[in-house]
Structure formats: structure tokens, C-alpha cells
């Protein structure tokens, strides 16, 4: 969901079903619609299993929106994104458990740790060609998992159990599955909204400039290195919050949850949905996380299918299924208008 408000479109409008759908996809209301659906879901189906699946999907959406900042906006391929979730989840788990704190209070520690992780991996590599970054992040993802597997503070291969809940206030335990689902949905919605807004700001534009042409961006005074590092850090924070929710959801963290496959799935959500377009990414994330639940029988082939799909999409539709639309409303009669005495800018400017 996003508040990105593209009020008018100066594109020819046809009335085919496809056009209607794509128009709906771009309307500002879609965010609210999606939010409303997410809130109503428990009234339709509220078995523990369904709540579990939906909560997991919502967390996955958060991860995808974070990775979208890095890959979609800034064009940096991060193949170890799940490591940030691992850092978040372990930090939250360890801090909460050793100080017997509700998970909510671990947020500052998680933010610090994920930023640190983002800096450690980003600082040396973001100066290099983007493909180096890709493979280094791939390695970083593995290293994080192996480290968690080997250290005793992280509980070794079996991980950490019995992590305290998010919070308990006035007899309401946020850990109760239905409540936890709502908490997750609201948090995820806020993060998705924030990511979408970031994408439509000065910083978001700078990310896109860097993605499209680093040299040209530099020539305009944009410190590409700093801008990339910012994308990386934001991505890391989003991942870290995903980790907190993950730890709270399972009350346990173990290294097996952070294998490369997970990073690849998040990447697929971003790529299939449409890099750079938050709405597409949210849908992509929902599809990737919910589809396997519906197609349990085909589980042997599903990752094979994902892999092939990734190649096919890149070859035939590299912008993804719901790409970012590079359109902006026009101003009336721009040319002869006296440039100094322009009237108050139309609403376009608020974008």
C-alpha cells in the first residue's frame, strides 16, 4: 500500500478489462483496499493454521518492501538479504531473553545492530561494481548463518528458544495469535507506506538516479556511495524489523530459517512483482508466500518453477508484472508561461 498519489494520468484510457485492472492497480485507494482486506481476513478464516500462514505472509511482505528499497529503487542486487532478518531476530531474541524484556524493547538494539551489519557489508563493497556486491552479499548471507550456527551466544545449531513475547499490557497479550496478526499487519503496513514514501522523495529519486546511471548522478553532485549506503541501511532496518516480528511469531530462532533459499524467495517477490513499484512488490510477496500453501502437492517442483520463472521474466518482461509506472501528470500550457510569475503549483507537486 502506498499513499503515492498520482491523481491524474495523461494516458489514453481504454476500457478493456486489462486497462481497468491496471488503472485500479494504480489508484491511490488500492493501499487502503489491501489494508482493509488484511484486517478482514481473520473474520473469514481464523483457524490457527490460517492465522499462522497469514502472519508469515505479512512478515514476508515487510521483507520484500525492504529489499525493494535496495534492489528496486537503488538497483543493488542483494542476495543475502535474509541475513538482516537473522541479525534482527537474533539480536531481539538474545536481548529479550537475557534481560527478560518484552521484545518490543529490543527495537533500539535491533536498529543499531542491523545498521552495523549494513555498514560492515556495504561500506567495503558499495564502491565496487554492482555485481561484486551481489556475490559478496551472497557470501555474507551464508557467513551470518554459519556464524549463528557456530557461536554459543546464538545457541548454536538449535538456536534460541522461549523468547519472551512482544508485550503484555492491561491483560492483553499481543502474543495471542489473532492479536499478533493484527499487530503484524499494522506494523507491516506502516513500513510499506514509509518505504513507498521514501521512494517518492529526494532520497528516493537519488536512488533511482544511481540505479539508472551512476556517472550521470555523480555529475549532478550526488554522492553515489553515500546514497547507496543509505539504501542499504534502510533495507537492513526493514529486514531487522522483519526479524523482530519473526522472533515474536515463532518465539524461537534457529539458523535453518536463514538459508539462501529464503533470500532468493524475497528477491523473487521483488522481481516478479515489479522492481521499484511498492504495490507490485506487495502483491509479488503475497503470491510467493501464499501460492506454495495452495499448491502443496507440487512442492517438489515449485522452486524449479520459481527459478525458470525468474529467467523467463527477465528475458521477456524484465520490469516484472507490475512495474513502476514512470508517469507524472503534465502541467497545462507549460511553455509560454512566464517562468518567474508562476501561480501556485498544481497538486502534482505534492506527488
Amino acid at each position: 500500500m502506498s499513499t503515492s498519489v498520482d491523481k491524474t494520468r495523461t494516458r489514453p484510457r481504454s476500457n478493456s478489462a486489462g486497462a481497468k485492472l491496471s488503472r485500479f492497480m494504480e489508484s491511490p485507494k488500492i493501499g487502503w483496499v489491501a489494508f482493509a482486506i488484511a484486517l478482514l481476513m481473520p473474520f473469514i478464516i481464523a483457524t490457527p493454521y490460517a492465522l499462522n500462514v497469514m502472519t508469515t505472509a505479512a512478515i514476508f511482505v515487510l521483507l520484500a518492501s525492504g529489499l525493494n528499497i535496495v534492489v528496486g529503487y537503488c538497483g543493488l542486487l542483494d542476495l543475502g538479504y535474509i541475513a538482516f532478518m537473522a541479525v534482527g531476530a537474533y539480536t531481539a531474541g538474545i536481548v529479550a531473553k537475557s534481560f527478560q524484556l518484552p521484545l518490543l524493547f529490543t527495537i533500539p538494539a535491533v536498529i543499531v545492530m542491523t545498521i552495523l551489519a549494513g555498514l560492515i557489508i556495504g561500506a567495503p563493497t558499495l564502491r565496487l561494481r554492482s555485481d561484486y556486491l551481489a556475490i559478496v552479499t551472497l557470501g555474507f548471507g551464508e557467513i551470518t548463518r554459519i556464524t549463528a550456527n557456530n557461536l554459543s551466544i546464538t545457541g548454536g545449531p538449535s538456536g534460541i528458544f522461549g523468547i519472551p513475547g512482544l508485550l503484555e499490557i492491561g491483560g492483553i497479550d499481543l502474543q495471542e495469535p489473532a492479536i499478533f496478526y493484527y499487530v503484524t499487519v499494522v506494523v507491516v503496513a506502516l513500513f510499506v507506506l514509509a518505504a513507498a514514501r521514501l521512494g517518492k522523495s529526494r532520497l528516493g529519486r537519488a536512488w533511482r538516479f544511481v540505479r539508472e546511471d551512476e556517472d550521470a548522478a555523480e555529475a549532478m553532485g550526488i554522492h553515489t556511495y553515500k546514497v547507496k549506503l543509505m539504501a542499504y541501511i534502510f533495507g537492513a532496518i526493514w529486514g531487522g524489523f522483519g526479524g523482530i516480528l519473526f522472533a515474536a511469531h515463532l518465539t524461537a530462532v534457529s539458523p535453518q530459517s536463514f538459508v539462501f533459499l529464503q533470500s532468493a524467495l524475497v528477491l523473487m517477490a521483488v522481481v516478479l512483482g515489479g522492481m521499484g513499484n511498492m504495490r507490485g512488490v506487495v502483491i509479488g510477496a503475497l503470491v510467493i508466500s501464499l501460492l506454495p500453501e495452495l499448491l502443496r502437492d507440487l512442492s517438489d517442483y515449485r522452486y524449479l518453477a520459481f527459478g525458470i520463472l525468474l529467467v523467463v521474466v527477465m528475458v521477456f518482461r524484465p520490469q516484472g508484472f507490475w512495474p513502476a509506472r514512470g508517469f507524472e501528470p503534465e502541467r497545462p500550457a507549460p511553455n509560454e508561461a512566464a517562468t518567474e510569475s508562476e501561480p501556485a503549483p498544481p497538486k502534482e507537486a505534492i506527488r
Binding site: 529526494r202 555523480e218 514512470g326 507524472e328 517562468t339 508562476e342 507537486a349
Partner: protein, 263 residues
């Protein structure tokens, strides 16, 4: 008059080739200087050294008294140099307006915090970005659509947008790398008057150009390069009469060419 730009004994080489080999010239306020020379003379390399894309192996570049030699491009841009590229370097998937907004990055005016919360500061600065983007597009006389991805536009329009983007940087010095290449006669006339209006803004211009008519009409001084070396620097009339320049352009049939390989 103070010098806006001072280039002294600039050098850069790639492998065995000395692309720029001892280039010196200076640019004063509101001046329009042309750099000319045959293909491969090292003109673009010189621009790249001035703007920090290449690290010069020797020599210095001074902008308004400040040494900018070897700094990174973004810092040089911030110091007050803006440029266009020989082969358009726009952001193809972004809209015309966003392309121009790239030139305004240094205006600042909002933090990521403002962006997430949509504070009044954010709205104000976004308004400013839009207004100025339109302003610079108007300034260069751009008449095409503005809200569409730039790759859908004609070459001439893209060149205009690239200049608008460079102007939005509001720098003291504008470097144009072959701005007239690929333009038709009337477009060149528009470019000519545009350069003069840019000068009126207080921006000095250095342009690389192969169109001699344009160069002679527009520039106060001309720097001529050949094989990385500066072979002349003077007024259009002086340069036209310079035998070395005539030779460089018409060529002598003897061993001129091999002699530069081992430079």
C-alpha cells in the same frame, strides 16, 4: 576579472596513449570558450579530468581559486561545475521532470524523515523541485511532454533535457560536450541563443564542438587540441589563421600519425 576555471598542464594517459598531454587554459566569468580538435584529440578526456571522472596523472584544476584536482565527481559538481555528456547520459526510465530534478539534488530542503512523515517541509521542497524543473525546461525551450519517461523522446528533446538538468545545478561553470552534434540547422540556432542566455545567468561555458560555424560565432576564445596536446589558444580569428591548426585539420601526409603512438 577572476578566473572561474584554471587548468594547468593537465595530463592523463591510458596504457601507452597520452590522451591529454599538457593542457592549460583558463575561463573567466561569463566567457564562452570552445575546445576543438580532430576525433580522438583528447577533448572529452580533458572534460572527464576536470569533472573528476578521470584522475589526471599530472597538472591541476582550479575552480574559483579552489583546487579541485582529482576530487570525486560529486564534490566537483558541488564545488560548482556542471556538465553534459557526449553520448547522452540521461536516466532513461525516469520522467523528463525527474531527470531535471536530478540537477537539483544539492538544493536539499528535506530529509528522509520529512519524506516518511510528509511534513510541510517536505511538501514545500517538493513544490520547489517541481517548479524549478518546469522553469529550467521552459528556459531551454523544451516543448515536449514532461511527465513521460525520457527514453520515448526524440534525440533533440533529450539533448535539451540534458542541458536543462545541467542548468538546474546552478553552477558557475557549464561544460558542454558536443551540444550541437546531431541537431539540425534550426535547432542549432536555438542552441546558439540558449548559450548566450546561459551566459547572462552568470555561468561560464566551455564547449567541445565540431561545428565550426557555431564555434566561430559563439566563442570568445578557442582552445585547439591535437593528439592530447594544446596546439593553439586564441580568438576565433587568431585560431583560423594559425598554421598549426590548419595542418591539424587538413593533415599532412607524412609521419605525423605514428609519432604520437610512443608519446
Amino acid at each position: 576579472m577572476t578566473a572561474v576555471l584554471e587548468v594547468k598542464d593537465l595530463q592523463i594517459g591510458f596504457g601507452g596513449v597520452k590522451a591529454v598531454d599538457g593542457l592549460s587554459f583558463s575561463v573567466h566569468e561569463k566567457e564562452i570558450i570552445a575546445v576543438i580538435g580532430p576525433n580522438g584529440a583528447g577533448k572529452t578526456s580533458a572534460f572527464n579530468c576536470i569533472t573528476g571522472f578521470y584522475k589526471p596523472t599530472a597538472g591541476s584544476v582550479t575552480l574559483k581559486g579552489q583546487n579541485i584536482t582529482g576530487k570525486r565527481p560529486a564534490d566537483i559538481a558541488a564545488a560548482g561545475v556542471t556538465r553534459t555528456f557526449q553520448n547522452l547520459r540521461l536516466f532513461p526510465d525516469l520522467t523528463v521532470l525527474d531527470n531535471v530534478r536530478a540537477g537539483m539534488h544539492l538544493y536539499g530542503g528535506q530529509s528522509w524523515f520529512d519524506a516518511i512523515l510528509h511534513t510541510p517541509r517536505f511538501r514545500r521542497s517538493e513544490n520547489r523541485y517541481s517548479d524549478e524543473a518546469h522553469h529550467w525546461l521552459d528556459f531551454v525551450g523544451y516543448r515536449g511532454p514532461r511527465g513521460v519517461p525520457i527514453r520515448n523522446l526524440s534525440y533533440g528533446q533529450q539533448k535539451q533535457v540534458e542541458i536543462a538538468r545541467a542548468l538546474a545545478r546552478k553552477a558557475d561553470l557549464l561544460l558542454l560536450d558536443e551540444p550541437a552534434a546531431g541537431l539540425n540547422f534550426s535547432e542549432k540556432q536555438v542552441l546558439l541563443s540558449l548559450c548566450r542566455r546561459i551566459r547572462e545567468l552568470g555561468t561560464a561555458i566551455v564547449l567541445i564542438e565540431h561545428d565550426m560555424g557555431l564555434v566561430m560565432e559563439l566563442s570568445e576564445r578557442i582552445v585547439v587540441m591535437n593528439f592530447g596536446r594544446e596546439i593553439a589558444d586564441g580568438t576565433p580569428a587568431e585560431v583560423k589563421a594559425n598554421p598549426a591548426v590548419i595542418e591539424a585539420y587538413l593533415g599532412k601526409d607524412d609521419e605525423e600519425v605514428p609519432s604520437h603512438g610512443d608519446a
